[in-house]
């Protein structure tokens, strides 16, 4: 088993516990041991609190990284926003002047940031430590014939020099992860667009989502595969809102990747909390009748 400290953040454990459940089901099946962090706080979020004061934002983020340093483990995140904050902190604190400033703050609580724990987005654990083949082998019911449109979102990929996850102009990690489930990834024309959640205008996010959902519809995808809980909200509640606003029928169910993975690995549909979504991925149910091999 490879061990990593788990940084669950706020949105997944508090608003989407079904996603956390799926992660805890899926990772051990791939030889990855989850080590929980005590006393973690919000990352803090890279949109709101960072807008107030970058130095305080860095100090709190560095404290979270210290918790993983105490355990001598690398830290992994399941939310692209947490990845943005923690990866950027790791990157910025390689600068000695900034590190000293932050460590002065940390000294107030008897801590010191050393920079010994790397930050990893959960998809890179799958790719780099489990491998696509192992994922394929862990699948008990391949999702054959399902078309999945992928929404990468922004912070998994960008800024690429800091995130170091994949090529931001032509990524492949999510396509490969979807293929490992036996499903067929589809790249809709607007795959690279942002979900718009951070934008404080009404006009920008709704126009953008309208364009995005239009190209998802063109592909007749069965499912929108999500990797960020913030984007998920925009495609769940947001998809309904955009449909009403523009008087068009958008209805592709968004599903967080790890719920798809856990389902393909054999976790029953009814245990995965999918019935709480506004758009339910009923197309998955037909795979439950597939015989699961003994043993």
């Amino acid at each position: 088993m490879k061990r990593f400290a788990f940084f669950p953040g706020c949105l997944i454990p508090a608003r989407h516990p079904a996603m956390e459940f799926a992660i805890r089901e899926a990772l051990p099946r791939l030889g990855i041991e989850i080590v929980d962090l005590d006393n973690a706080s919000c990352c803090p979020d890279p949109i709101y609190f960072k807008s107030k004061d970058k130095l305080s934002w860095l100090a709190v983020a560095a404290r979270n990284l210290c918790l993983a340093e105490d355990l001598g483990l690398d830290i992994f995140t399941n939310c692209s926003g947490c990845t943005a904050t923690l990866s950027e902190t790791y990157h910025l604190l390689q600068n000695e002047v900034l590190r000293e400033k932050v460590n002065k703050r940390l000294k107030r609580i008897g801590r010191e940031y050393k920079g010994t724990s790397r930050v990893r987005h959960i998809v890179t654990l799958l790719r780099d430590f489990a491998g696509y083949e192992a994922i394929k082998d862990s699948v008990e019911r391949p999702l054959e014939g399902l078309k999945m449109a992928i929404h990468y979102g922004c912070h998994l990929l960008k800024p690429s020099r800091i995130m170091q996850v994949d090529d931001p102009n032509d990524p492949s990690v999510m396509e490969n992860l979807v293929t490992a489930l036996g499903a067929t990834p589809v790249r809709h024309r607007n795959w690279y667009l942002c979900c718009g959640k951070a934008c404080q205008s009404d006009e920008v996010p709704s126009n953008m989502m309208h364009d995005l959902l239009g190209t998802v519809n063109d592909e007749h995808a069965d499912i929108l595969c999500m990797i960020c809980p913030t984007c998920f909200g925009q495609f769940d509640f947001g998809q309904m809102k955009v449909s009403k606003q523009f008087g068009e029928d958008f209805h592709t169910p968004p599903v967080y990747y790890f719920q798809l993975l856990a389902f393909a690995q054999g976790v029953p549909y009814d245990k995965l909390g999918l019935e709480r979504q506004r758009f339910k991925p009923d197309c998955l149910r037909r795979f439950e009748t597939t015989t699961i091999p003994e043993g």
Binding site: C10, L11, P13, A14, R15, P17, A18, E20, F21, R24, D38, N39, A40, S41, C42, P44, D45, P46, I47, Y48, F49, S51, K52, D53, K54, L55, S56, L58, A59, V60, R63, L92, L98, K104, R105, L106, K107, R108, I109, C154, H155, K158, P159, S160, P168, L193, C194, G196, A198, C199, Q200, S201, E203, V204, P205, N207, M208, D211, K271, G273
Partner: protein
Amino acid sequence: MPQKPKDSPSGKNKVARIDFRFRRELAEKIEGDLASFCYQCGACVGDCPATTYGSDFNPRDIMLKVLYGLGDELLGENSILWECTNCYNCHERCPQDVKPVEVIISLKNMLADLGIYPPAVEKVIQTFEKTGRTVPLSDAVNRQREKFGLPPLPEVPMEEIQKLIEPDSEEGEKD
């Protein structure tokens, strides 16, 4: 002293006086100084979703205002800065490593110093400063977690968080 373009927001054919004081103040914010390297190529504009899908937002224009020191046009109620989607495309594209999105966030730090936030933003910040989380704990949250066999979420040690977000004292931190 460079001249402003004729369509400059601050009037026609005037000799520009750059407010370096504003730029120096911005430079005190982390990565706020990067704006100085902007040569106005516009690489940030083409891929900016807030430019494509909105009516007024333009990252090159915001960088130009910073270069001229036109703080008043950026730092007020209903600032255009809040239309940024934080997508980081401009960070990705900028050939000068200006990181326009980071300069924009540094400008928001200046807005925060003035106590100006959109209500939705202020609400999340307050939740974090009170609870250490952006989604606060509640019995309902823990009941949901229980349904999935997940343990209740622990409280965040707020005394540590509060000490960390306390501003540095004027005379600097004691060693």
